[in-house]
Amino acid sequence: MPLSDIGSYASIAGLLVTLWILSDLGRIKSRYLFSARVPELARKLRTHSSNLSAMLNDPAANSSQIAEELAAAEVTVTSLSAKVSGVVKKSATSLAKTIRTTQRTGSDVALLRDTYLAMIKLQEELKNLELDLKWER
């Protein structure tokens, strides 16, 4: 085999190895980002849902605090949706949308309860995802 052919094969192999390393680096980066930030954001989400639930004991008296809590929750959920993928990302994006709708409609208790439910469902999804990743390591 001529030396130039060997060189061509070697550069193709090198390119494939580079692509494989790049994809693996992306995977490592997203896993690192997940481990570093997602548990903290999940804890924040738990605090938001817990506060919202407590405020729903008397929604009329807590309307201004509810608005503040929803605004803070939207920031957390939007940040979360950028750091996860698949089904969990879909749920986080949908929750962010629900929070925005709830904010626009004011203190509709039924919508607030739907938002709370979507929050606690997302928390369970995050818990399952964390457990899955623990086994992958």
Binding site: R46, S49, S50, S53, A54, L56, N57, D58, A61, V87, S91, R113, Y116, L117, I120, K121, Q123, E124, E125, K127, N128
Partner: protein
Amino acid sequence: MPAESNQWVEAIARLTALTQEGALKWETRPPTGERTVVDASYYTTHKDRRLRLEKRMVTEEDEYSFRRQVRMERLFLEFVDDNDNSLWAFPRVDALEDLYNAVRFQTAGVKDFLDDLLSTG
């Protein structure tokens, strides 16, 4: 998320909503039996089913070491019979803590207290 797990989260959120709306009335009773209950036991009846909610001290394996055991507080929501025997316990989900807080808020009469206090000035 498995559909089954979703179902328990929805059921507990529904119980919390019914409690907060006053449609589900809980009563406090001193703990009975051998269980190590933190504060009181809370009982209610929903669609002819008796439910008991309690925070108990339990000993469990440490999450980080299988050889070590730790004492911790855990919430239990169970169906009970007329003699307070546990028939079945709901799976552990974070939403149980919110139900527990809503039940304590109701049984302590916090809303009535606040309404009364704020209306009298």
